[in-house]
């Protein structure tokens, strides 16, 4: 433990020493280096996010030759901290765009980057201390749950019974589920069960099979994620109960959006939580350096309802997600 923190402070000292040099280099009209640190593509949503990050970096690199990007992906919080330390120590970045794997462990390292005088953009998961970042770009988890909840309330008869699949136990998941429950308040809709499907197709398939064995009446399913929705629909099809219930996922996976476009009765709508939010974060950070406009503050991307009428504008056939 001790050795670790020693190493960390050594890295910070090194970084502070380099920071002075960076300011000079910039005045010479040299390249501005922007570091991007995101979780690796372990599930569909993160895969989409990785794709959008790569895509945006390629595009911006061509448009602004004086910008250079350093992208790193991490499988866990500890690796992400090391990545950021490496970016500071060896690449001498001018700005950091970070989607924290977890809020707590990343707060101190990102604060150190800020303290070294760098521009910091935090994406999606906030840090546990306020006021560190210059720019905050995120989706709206409360709206994500609320929009879904309101759709259930408006489209189900009183007395209807629904089941919910939750994600990986996190604050983000809690916020969504609480907002969903709040939106349902005052209606006569009963939530039969809420279990964790971990944003995973196979896990969601298993949980849904067990729901179907357990409850003879289910009118609708809030799968809360498009990967989980796919597993859920497969379980429903296997039990021959496709006509009994509809399913609402979330995020905006291309296969799901396509089925909404085609008017699939089992998938009436979807709620967005776009992985493209990383693109907005990278673009805005780049603008801060190439234009005179200060790009600071909070930028929240709302969750919208994808319906058969507007589905086309949410359909990205080239994205892997």
């Amino acid at each position: 433990m001790k050795r670790r923190s020693l190493m960390k402070s050594a890295a910070i000292v090194a970084v502070l020493g380099l920071a002075g040099g960076a300011a000079v280099a910039q005045q010479d009209g040299e390249k501005t280096i922007i570091g991007v640190s995101i979780p690796s593509a372990t599930h569909g949503f993160m895969g989409g996010l990785n794709w959008h990050a790569q895509d945006t970096i390629d595009r911006l690199g061509k448009v602004y030759p004086n910008l250079e990007f350093v992208l790193s992906t991490a499988g866990d919080a500890a690796k992400q901290v090391s990545d950021i330390e490496d970016m500071m120590a060896t690449r001498n970045i001018d700005a950091l765009i970070v989607l924290p794997f977890e809020s707590e462990p990343l707060t101190a390292p990102v604060a150190a980057v800020k303290k070294a005088g760098k521009f910091v953009t935090v994406v999606d998961r906030g840090l546990s201390q306020e006021g560190i970042e210059d720019l905050y770009v995120a989706g709206d988890n409360t709206a994500f749950g609320r929009v879904a909840g309101e759709y259930f309330k408006e489209n189900l008869q009183p007395g209807a019974k629904i089941v919910v699949l939750r994600g990986i136990p996190t604050t983000l998941d809690n916020e969504r589920v609480e907002a969903f429950q709040t939106a349902l308040e005052g209606s006569d809709i009963e939530i039969l069960d809420m279990q964790h499907g971990n944003w995973n197709r196979d896990d969601a398939f298993t949980v849904m099979q067990d729901y179907l064995s357990k409850y003879p009446q289910i009118d609708a399913v809030w799968a809360a994620d498009d990967d989980m929705a796919i597993g859920v629909m497969e379980a429903i099809a296997a039990a021959d109960r496709t006509d009994e219930m509809w399913v609402i996922g979330g995020a905006g996976m291309k296969e799901i959006v396509k089925r909404i476009m085609e008017g699939d009765p089992q998938l009436p709508v979807d709620v967005t939580y776009p992985p493209a939010l990383i693109s907005s974060a990278i673009e805005m950070t780049a603008l801060n350096f190439v234009s005179g406009a200060p790009m600071v503050g909070r930028f929240i991307i709302g969750s919208q309802l994808i319906t058969p009428e507007n589905a086309e504008q949410f359909y990205f056939p080239d994205s892997p997600f």
Binding site: H43, G47, N200, D202, S213, D227
Partner: protein, 322 residues
């Protein structure tokens, strides 16, 4: 003959779980639920039967979960690629199955050769290939999901969902694998060699057993079974991604140990492994069917039951040896 107490421990745990499940929710014993649980167990089950041989010979394979994801990925890519030429028929699907099974044998050979020929610790080799297979499938899928063509999926689907009455194909294949595995372990020369190598590989070598060949074969057998599990897994959701088969290796190893096979090798129990796999899937199923505890605690309950099943077996063993 004295009843085998080592296998009785896990069996008692399994029976207790079945009774508990039936008491908690009458839907538990419905044929649909039994089919679900058994079919779900089939993937881990087949892999665990292969793992029993590897562990009995004193080895270990951490790469099986990633290997399954990788094999599912290349099988899907092969089928999608063969589709324009061959059309939507069983020929295309058989190509996919062949890719999964041959790929599995090749991957098992890779692990086994690195362990027996390059003489690297199994833990290190398979930890390495675990990362390699996982990254490869994420790379092939471009970080997203590889999906089988819709028409092919519809054709392929009955391989997971169909069967003879309520006994679906995965259950049948799992049962046949288990029986073949039990026969091989008990009655074949290969099984006896595997046990001999696991108890003392030097003595085995002096007894003119080709130790390296037998070890290599255990990894290839495991690879073959991972391929077979993949053949049955792909039609379930028709997709593979970086999230496929995560932690399958640990579930398979846990099932083997719960079943009474010694982690240090030398004693393999294929029936025990089958019981172990069923215990693991039943815990999940019961926790979903009954609202016993907060879902946050599911992992803790699983942990307790796994440890209890092994403790039970351990106490019986010391009593037996006395």
């Amino acid at each position: 003959m004295k009843p085998d107490l080592h296998t009785l421990g896990p069996l008692i745990a399994l029976i207790a779980l079945v009774i508990l499940g039936a008491l908690l929710n009458p839907a538990f014993l419905a044929p649909a639920n039994i089919t679900n649980v058994l079919a779900r167990s089939a993937f881990i089950g087949m892999i665990a039967v292969g793992m029993t041989f590897v562990i009995t010979a004193g080895g270990l394979d951490l790469s099986v979960g990633s290997m399954a994801a990788f094999l599912a990925g290349i099988a899907i890519i092969a089928m999608n690629a063969a589709l324009p030429g061959l059309g939507e028929n069983w020929g295309t699907i058989i190509i996919g199955m062949g890719v999964a099974i041959l790929g599995g044998i090749a991957a098992g050979y890779l692990n086994g050769a690195l362990i027996t020929k390059a003489r690297i610790e199994p833990f290190i080799v398979t930890l390495g290939t675990m990362g390699i297979f996982r990254s490869l499938v994420t790379w092939l899928a471009d970080g997203g999901t590889l999906s089988l063509d819709y028409g092919l999926r519809t054709l392929y689907r009955p391989v997971y969902y169909g069967g003879i009455g309520w006994i679906t194909w995965p259950i049948i294949v799992f049962a046949l694998t288990a029986m073949a595995g039990e026969w091989m372990m008990r009655h074949s020369r290969f099984g006896r060699h595997v046990e001999a190598i696991g108890s003392n590989d030097r003595v085995a070598r002096y007894s003119a057993i080709d130790v390296n060949r037998a070890r290599l074969l255990t990894y290839m057998l495991l690879g073959l079974l991972v391929g077979l599990a993949t053949v049955l897994y792909v039609p379930r959701l028709g997709s593979a991604s970086g999230g496929t088969g995560v932690l399958w290796e640990l579930e398979a190893i846990a099932a083997v140990i719960i079943g009474g096979t010694a982690l240090k090798g030398g004693r393999g129990r294929v029936w025990g492994t089958v019981v172990g796999v069923l215990i693991l899937s039943l815990i999940d199923n019961i926790l979903n069917l009954a609202d016993l505890v907060s879902p946050y605690l599911n992992g803790a309950i699983q942990g307790i039951i796994i440890v209890l099943a092994v403790v039970l077996q351990r106490e019986k063993r010391t009593a037996d040896e006395r």
